[in-house]
């Protein structure tokens, strides 16, 4: 932030205007489209033949689709962390990160909704939920809160974009008339009057306040999908807080990865500086420690008691079938990142990028560990069932769909960054004027 105060408005504008895809960008988009296409093909197969194409059976009825859903919901919470919490607490250094956080939130929550429909054997019956659903069911609460969160995130993305629309309409290359038409459709009415700024500022403040309880609700309710069921590993009063702390961690990790990629690809070193990485690194350490604390509570205390009903589940996680994934998620997803990030050198862009990746990948597997092992350890012993009911390893269709959905979320972010400035232009100029 120190550097940009010497820049002119025009320099900031030209630096931050969305840029056409380079050859590398085109390749990246093509790669994501290919993964999405394979996912779509797998989904068509699933629709055609039914859920039998998956490895989900009577016991493991929730597999990587639901893990993916929890992961998406978790990562979407970063919108409320960066945009709302930091904004409301008067933190200004996070300005260049707000839009990155918000687009991650919007794309993640969109794909969370999509993946939950993918998990349904009969997706056309989804409408039965609003038509005949019971408000007593946490699934119903989840649907309501996800829809609400999606709209709030969308508005939190759109309203701060309005001042940039004027700049985009004026500065976009005239050889892209369709794009300019699209900008005009979204915000030709923005003239930048004092009154407009006042209303938009008020709207953003209201949204920032509203999104925090909704964001807490969304992941608390998601945790209740599990915690309201009496099963080993899910029977916890701590699940809401445990999920939220994990969500903030993975969300922050996702933002760090995106920060590094956008900074490198769009040459934004003057706007996303080492300072941003350093501060995000400190936030990540705090969130990592918090999540580790909840993990100790969730696993160490039950393991200390080792109740008979929980024994098989805990042993499976700590030293059994799921131990490699479990320790990978704990060590690679939490402990190593915390150790790296406590050192100043660890909070430099490249180590931060690596740490961000470790956190995100660890978090994805952590969601899998929350969902599936519990289902494979019911209270009643599994007798006289086919061998493939006793274990779960996703089929290629499940992998393709899960990877396709992750690619889809990244594609939305990539295309957004191609159309809109990934760092708010007007806000950056305004802050530049203030600091100047």
């Amino acid at each position: 932030m120190e550097k940009i105060k010497t820049f002119t408005d025009d320099k900031i504008t030209s630096d931050l205007l969305p840029q056409k895809f380079t050859q590398r960008g085109m390749l990246w988009v093509g790669f994501l489209l290919l993964l999405c296409g394979i996912g779509l093909f797998a989904y068509i197969r699933q629709i055609k033949y039914g859920l039998i194409v998956t490895s989900m059976r009577d016991y493991a009825s929730w597999g990587i689709y639901i893990s993916n859903f929890v992961f998406f919901v978790a990562i979407s919470l970063v919108g409320s962390l960066i945009t709302a919490i930091l904004r409301l607490t008067g933190v200004h250094w996070s300005t260049p990160l707000t839009r990155i956080a918000e687009i991650i939130a919007v794309s993640a929550i969109t794909f969370a909704a999509i993946i939950i429909i993918v998990d349904m054997g009969r997706p056309e019956r989804f409408l039965n939920l609003p038509l005949y659903g019971r408000i007593q069911s946490p699934i119903m609460w989840d649907v309501i809160v996800i829809t609400t969160y999606f709209f709030i995130s969308l508005m939190l993305l759109y309203i701060p974009l309005l001042p940039d629309m004027k700049i985009l309409i004026e500065k976009t290359d005239k050889s892209q008339p369709k794009l300019i038409k699209f900008y005009k459709f979204l915000g030709s009415f923005w003239v930048g009057s004092h009154m407009q700024f006042r209303i938009s500022k008020k709207a953003i403040t209201i949204l920032s306040i509203t999104i925090i309880p909704v964001a807490f609700s969304i992941h608390t309710v998601t945790s209740w999908l599990f915690a309201t069921t009496y099963r080993p590993g899910w029977d916890s009063t701590n699940f809401g807080a445990y999920f939220i702390s994990g969500a903030f961690l993975v969300g922050a990790g996702g933002v760090v990865v995106a920060m590094f990629v956008f900074r490198s690809m769009y040459k934004l070193e003057n706007y996303i500086t080492d300072l941003h990485f350093d501060r995000m690194g400190k936030i990540l350490v705090m969130l990592g420690l918090l999540y580790l604390y909840f993990n100790i509570n969730e696993y160490l205390i039950p393991a200390f008691k080792m109740k008979k009903s929980e024994e098989a589940h805990l042993t499976g996680l700590l030293a059994g079938e799921f131990a490699p994934v479990f320790w990978f998620a704990i060590i690679v997803g939490m402990i190593i990142p915390i150790i790296i990030l406590v050192f100043k050198w660890g909070r430099k862009p490249l180590p931060m990028f690596v740490v961000g990746l470790m956190v995100v990948i660890g978090a994805w597997f952590k969601r899998y560990l929350i969902v599936t092992p519990t289902l494979l350890h019911p209270f009643l012993p599994m007798h006289n069932v086919p061998a493939n009911y006793l274990h779960y390893f996703p089929s290629w269709e499940e992998w393709a769909i899960a990877i396709g959905s992750l690619s889809g979320a990244m594609l939305v972010i990539t295309i957004f960054a191609r159309i809109f400035p990934i760092i708010p232009i007007q806000e950056t100029i305004a802050e530049n004027h203030v600091t100047h």
């Binding site: 609400t148 508005m155 309203i159 923005w190 003239v191 407009q196 938009s200």
Partner: protein, 294 residues
């Protein structure tokens, strides 16, 4: 010569095969078994149950869609024509038109006939149940007595040595009232049983239904008499399923939950709608500003 011999041999084989086929066709008709059972409950209108079966692979299997003509005593008293269905069963009640014929004689014969068709030959059967009357009586000391008489020689005569059952009517079947599974009538045509199921759930007033019955008797068929007694415990229906509760249906949501869920959702969505109005206001202001400048 060899050709002629071959032709003759083939023709002979075909002829033999054809004659065998014809004989097989003639023997293909299966025999139909028509059985009848007589039922009388609470001395009301009696009815007969007719079952049609045939032997397949050494086992009797029910046959459906067999038309059975039923008569009372003679072909002039037609009970009706019926078709067997389900498990080869039909149920026929004596029609009101045969009331006089029924009352005219103390004992009757039911006749059942089926016509010959492609599969079965003509079949007939008859059943002549004795007219039996059971009077069920109870005492305050929870003893149950049943008096069984038969209409014979223009008088109701006690039936001796008849095997019977005493039970409590439940869903689907009867539960025995005491330790004995069956009772045999004495020389007075009586059986006595002690009611031992003291905590038997009854209806909301504690009423239960006792039954005395004769089952599948060759001479009398199935005769049953019921009597309601207040010997059960009062049963209070558990209506908790129909209360507003977390486990209830969508229309039985607890009020507090409805209030909480809707007030939270409406508050948040109210804010969102307010924000949409703010966007519209921004839009309006912008258009006014643009209009001013143009």
């Amino acid at each position: 010569m060899l050709h002629i011999n071959k032709f003759n041999t083939s023709a002979l084989l075909i002829l033999l095969a054809l004659s065998g086929f014809h004989q097989a066709n003639a023997q293909d008709k299966k025999s139909l078994n028509v059985s009848m059972a007589y039922y009388l409950t609470n001395n009301n209108i009696p009815y007969v149950v007719v079952t049609t079966k045939t032997k397949i692979d050494g086992k009797f299997k029910p046959v459906n869609n067999i038309e059975v003509s039923l008569f009372l005593d003679s072909p002039t008293n037609v009970i009706g024509k019926f078709k067997t269905a389900g498990k080869g069963i039909l149920v026929a009640t004596i029609p009101p038109a045969l009331k006089d014929a029924w009352n005219a004689k103390p004992k009757h014969t039911f006749l059942a006939t089926t016509k010959a068709d492609k599969e079965f030959d003509e079949t007939s059967n008859e059943l002549a149940p004795g007219r039996l009357k059971i009077v069920l009586d109870t005492a305050d000391d929870k003893n149950v007595t049943a008096l069984v008489t038969e209409f014979k020689d223009n008088a109701w005569t006690p039936v001796k040595g008849l095997e019977m059952k005493l039970g409590i009517k439940r869903f689907g079947a009867d539960l025995q009232i005491g330790d004995e599974q069956t009772y045999t009538t004495d020389s007075l045509g009586q059986i006595k049983g002690e009611f031992k199921k003291l905590l038997m759930p009854g209806d909301e007033h504690g009423n239960i239904v006792l039954a005395a019955r004769v089952d599948d008797n060759d001479q009398y068929g199935n005769v049953r008499v019921e009597r309601t007694v207040p010997w059960g415990t009062k049963f209070k229906t558990d209506n908790s399923f129909f209360r507003r509760a977390l486990w209830g249906t969508r229309f039985r949501t607890p009020i507090w939950l409805l209030f909480m869920a809707y007030s939270i959702a409406l508050s948040v969505w109210g804010i969102l709608i307010y924000l949409i109005f703010m966007i519209l206001k921004i839009k309006k202001l912008g258009k006014e500003e643009l209009a001013k400048h143009s």
